[in-house]
Amino acid sequence: MTHPDSRIVIRGIGAVGGFGCGVAALEQALSGGEVRPGRVALPMTAVSDMAAFMADTVLLKDFLPVKALRRVDHYSRLALLGAHLALADAALPEADRAGLGVVIASGHGATGITFAFQDSFINDGDICASPTHFANSIHNSAAANISIMLGAAGPSLTVSQFHLSVPSALLTARQWLLERRVERVLFGAVDELSRLTSHYWCRQHGPAADGTLPRPLRTGADTAIPGEGAAFLLLSREEDAANGGYCTLDSVTTGRNLPPGPLSASPGLLLLGADGIQATGRRYAEAAAGSRIACYTPLYGSMPPGPAFDIASAALILRSGVVFPTPAGDACDFPAAVAKGGEPVGPGPVGILTLDDDDGHGLISLGSL
């Protein structure tokens, strides 16, 4: 039986992306309003590289011995770093990890190691396929590595719904808490820019022109720059969060056939979620019409875990009570009001709207504690 009266709280945040590593780095990027993308190599196309927000996992050595990471690929390292950062941010005692539920959202999974596994038998014949690469290419490898390295023996779930992976997985994470199946859920979203996903992005969207930055609030143009990274949240019921937290996770809805037109917005709603992808930009503008909007995708890039970074950003807004400036907010042609940096968040909820190009949508609503 669910306990609908229970409020779910975000107690800790762990984020690693193009802006750096940790909640302080994210907050600094949000306050500063600009992160310059790096470059990702494109060995399979005519152009040698393209702009991308790449994430560095070097700080994982602060949490785990290097030896333990010998066989862990970049994808799982991103997830492990995000997970450890979130638990450290929440100051969750090690003793409380045993029953921790782990929920991972990933659009593409461990594509780099999947590619490497195929390399192993294409190079040397089927008999030489690498069992280590195969074991790490399983879609739930990040969740498994987290559970093993944290000793998290609660239920574990990995969801892959491409761009809707975050709202879809978060729906179940929230259910687990409302049903009291677990005391806490470590929720995370992770994707990597591998050879495959970079190539796919380039073919779908083309590389951004040198020096340009994303303009996610401008319809009619694909200004997105891809990103990779991990955004993790430690979730619990409110009674377990006596020692603090960022905000409440009030609702998660996901499905298909979002009614056309503006969202029937709550008064004072602040809406996040645009990511500069042309295929969904017009639909997003339509849904956001009349709302107050903000957008931070230019700080971490477009990627399936993007909504989890938006949640982290919204959580920081709700804790401080002040909205961060929207990068390139002056380039907005949506029929909506872009929230200026420094203004109060207001009494309404913060919503994160995610759309895919298949009529799917997700809407996550966060509130103040």
């Binding site: 669910t2 069992p131 195969f134 290419s137 490898s141 990995t158 719904q161 179940t172 298909r256």
Partner: protein, 391 residues
């Protein structure tokens, strides 16, 4: 937790393309694995598999999703729900898979190796083929859509997640299950792990050497009491309880004491409000790998002594993300039938295992059964099903 009604079942696997055909061939003891027909391998050993014969590929989607859609059509028809009636309801989709979301395509990879700029066609087909989204599109479903990629427990987890949606009022109806195709990449992968049997798999047998891969899909229609009452529809089964826990031990091996499996079963019992003595039978994971069967039989002996158990993988092969769903469907159908089939492939008891599976088709008494799944990543899931009203 209140029971959730199952009003429709669908199944496709090597044993048959409809549930009735599957049940018929399983109880007749028909079917055997054979070297793969759909692909070749230059591996010197031809490991046998359980393929779904005569099921055509659809160029518009990956085979996994086509299998899932096929079983979903059967389940919805069985529940008496068509596209028009579904349009009036809040309907969710939850599907487990392993292959269905993997961005892996060997043709693409080989082109890269050959220095050819690879075409994106195969990857775009994967992108359009998310197994849950394919079903939602086909039937115009507007509720939550979730593809679970929990390796070999995916199907069990998907059914339980959908039951949670029904209980909490997120949906009126949900279609839930699992789907997976037989693919060369996973075939080579399991061989590389040295857990594939070069003959028919022998779950719980002394001479077991590993698994045979299979393919297929199982789907269940779950329905709220309100909608079911309005439609005057009898339940074919009930989802009574579910538990899930992670071993947090190893990427591909189960915990030697079955620590996670024990917790998962305990949770499922508590949620269903039953004890081991209430069980008619257990549909075990029973892959035929030495490690899995050793751990699982130890847990069966300790937690459910004397309860008849079997593995159906000797008829279906290990269908990975579909396995838990196919086995949930077969469990429900066996409760309806009042009989369980023999554990195919078992002939010589292993003294280390103590408990042994059923050797022949066996009548069952009682109304409750448990189906369990163990997975790479250390996932363990157990679901308890109750006999329906239409039996």
């Amino acid at each position: 937790m209140p029971p959730v009604a199952v009003t429709g079942l669908g199944c496709i696997c090597a044993a048959g393309q409809k549930l009735a055909d599957c049940m018929s061939s399983i109880f007749l003891g028909r079917g055997a694995p054979a070297p793969p027909v759909r692909f070749t391998s230059n591996h010197p050993v031809r490991y046998p598999v359980f393929e779904v014969a005569g099921f055509p590929d659809d160029p518009a989607m990956i085979r996994t999703s086509a299998l899932g859609l096929h079983a979903a059509r059967e389940a919805f028809a069985d529940a008496g729900l068509d596209r028009d009636s579904l349009a009036l309801l809040r309907v969710g989709v939850c599907v487990g898979t392993t292959i269905g979301c993997a961005m892996s395509n060997e043709t693409f990879c080989r082109q890269v190796h050959a220095g050819i700029d690879p075409g994106m066609g195969p990857i775009e087909v994967i992108q359009r083929s998310n197994p849950a989204a394919v079903i939602a599109r086909e039937f115009g479903l507007s509720g939550p859509c979730q593809t679970v990629v929990n390796a070999c427990s995916s199907g069990t987890d998907a059914v339980a997640i959908a039951a949670s949606w029904i209980r909490s009022g997120i949906c009126d109806v949900a279609i839930a299950g699992g789907a997976d195709e037989l693919a060369r990449i996973t075939y080579i992968g399991f061989i590389s792990l040295m857990i594939a049997d070069d003959s028919r798999c022998k779950p719980f047998d002394l001479n077991r050497k590993g698994l045979n891969l299979g393919e297929g899909a199982g789907m269940l229609v779950l329905e709220s009491d309100a909608v079911r009452a309005a439609r005057e529809r009898k339940a074919r089964a009930f989802v009574l309880g579910y538990g899930s826990a992670c071993d947090a031990y190893h990427l591909t091996a189960p915990h030697p004491d079955g620590a996670g499996l024990r917790r998962a079963i305990g949770e499922a019992f508590a949620e269903a409000g039953i004890s081991a003595g209430d069980l008619s039978f257990v549909n075990a994971h029973g892959t035929g790998t030495p490690d899995n069967d050793r751990v699982e039989s130890r847990v069966l002996r300790d937690l459910m002594p004397g309860v008849p158990y079997l593995s159906t993988k000797g008829f279906t092969g290990h269908t990975l993300g579909a396995a838990g769903a196919i086995e949930a469907v077969l469990t429900a159908a066996c409760l309806e039938r009042g009989e369980i089939p023999a554990n195919a492939g078992f002939s010589t008891p292993d003294p280390e295992l103590i408990a042994t599976p059923v050797r022949e088709a066996t009548p069952i008494t009682g109304t409750v059964a448990l189906s369990e799944s163990l997975a790479f990543g250390g996932n363990n899931s157990a679901i308890i099903l109750g006999r329906g009203e239409s039996s």
